[in-house]
């Protein structure tokens, strides 16, 4: 298998790797390649950064009034 096709396979494994959904053999295969491949490891790091960035960019705090409204929906105690 040529280097390029190994990188293509590594690209395919990026998401399940970061989701910890690869099996042990696949995980070892991905890590083995990442250790020696700057091209792929940069892109894996970027993907991790990107996920953190997406999460923080989308984190809009809940309005305090909504929290109070939710609490008021509780069943009244007698």
């Amino acid at each position: 298998m040529g280097f390029e096709s190994i990188c293509e396979k590594c690209e395919e494994m990026l998401q399940p790797y970061l989701d910890r959904e690869l099996n042990e053999t696949e995980r070892r295969e991905a890590e083995g390649h990442l250790n020696g491949c700057g091209y792929c490891s940069k892109r894996y790091r970027f993907e991790e950064d990107l996920r953190r960035f997406v999460r923080s960019a989308c984190d809009e705090p809940m309005p305090a009034e909504l929290k109070a409204k939710l609490a008021s929906l509780r069943t009244p105690l007698l």
Binding site: Q15, D19, F53, V54, S56, A57, C58, L73, T75
Partner: protein
């Protein structure tokens, strides 16, 4: 056999236990409200809709508390109510089939950013994206794919939990997530560097 006074006492105890269980349930559900809102906010287009959806979810959760089995996944149970309500609210009427051709690979966005803005600072290349751009790009992802991204990447649900919440097979969650993230990256590339993905 119980004596004549035993039955009212048993009933009173049962009512007291039920009230205690209900209060505990309601407290636990309220503790999850920040997480529920975070997900709701990205499932619907506006803050107002998210607030309505969360309120409706809590009203229904409090009403149907007996259908929750203690010890099971409360967060997923709540989110299932929320996604069902969201479907009931007619969002699915907006459904449009995703007919775009197969999106770019997973390295596409990095490659595009590196190409257009230089690759000297690759450790922080993500900082070339803006927060507003991310929100805009996510909202442009078709909702079947976006639901999976929002639940897993923003709501921290596992593939299995997302499958349970959306009532779809786990394999479908994985494929929607996989494809949705790629679509998101194509949208981000468009927002960030004005490229047609």
């Amino acid at each position: 056999m119980s004596g004549p006074m035993a039955e009212p006492e048993t009933n009173a105890r049962r009512i007291a236990e039920e009230a205690r269980d209900r209060v505990r349930f309601e407290e636990e559900v309220l503790e999850l409200s920040d997480q529920v809102y975070r997900v709701a906010r990205r499932l619907v287009p506006t803050r107002e809709e998210a607030e309505d959806l969360v309120q409706d979810t809590y009203a229904r959760a409090f009403r149907s508390w007996r259908s929750y089995t203690p010890g099971t996944n409360l967060r997923a149970w709540l989110m299932r109510i929320l996604t069902n309500l969201n479907i009931d609210r007619g969002r699915r009427e907006q459904r449009t089939p995703d007919t775009r051709p197969m999106e770019e690979g997973d390295y596409f966005l990095y490659n595009r950013l590196e190409e257009t803005t230089g690759g000297n600072d690759e450790e922080r290349i993500v900082e070339r994206l803006s927060q507003d751009g991310v929100v805009q790009a996510l909202s442009a992802v078709p909702h079947d794919f976006r639901d999976a991204i929002v639940l897993v990447d923003i709501g921290d649900f596992s593939y299995g939990e997302a499958a349970q919440i959306l009532d779809i097979p786990i394999g479908t969650v994985m494929s929607r997530l996989h494809r949705g993230r790629r679509i998101l990256k194509s949208e981000l590339a468009e927002v960030a560097v004005g490229e047609e993905a």
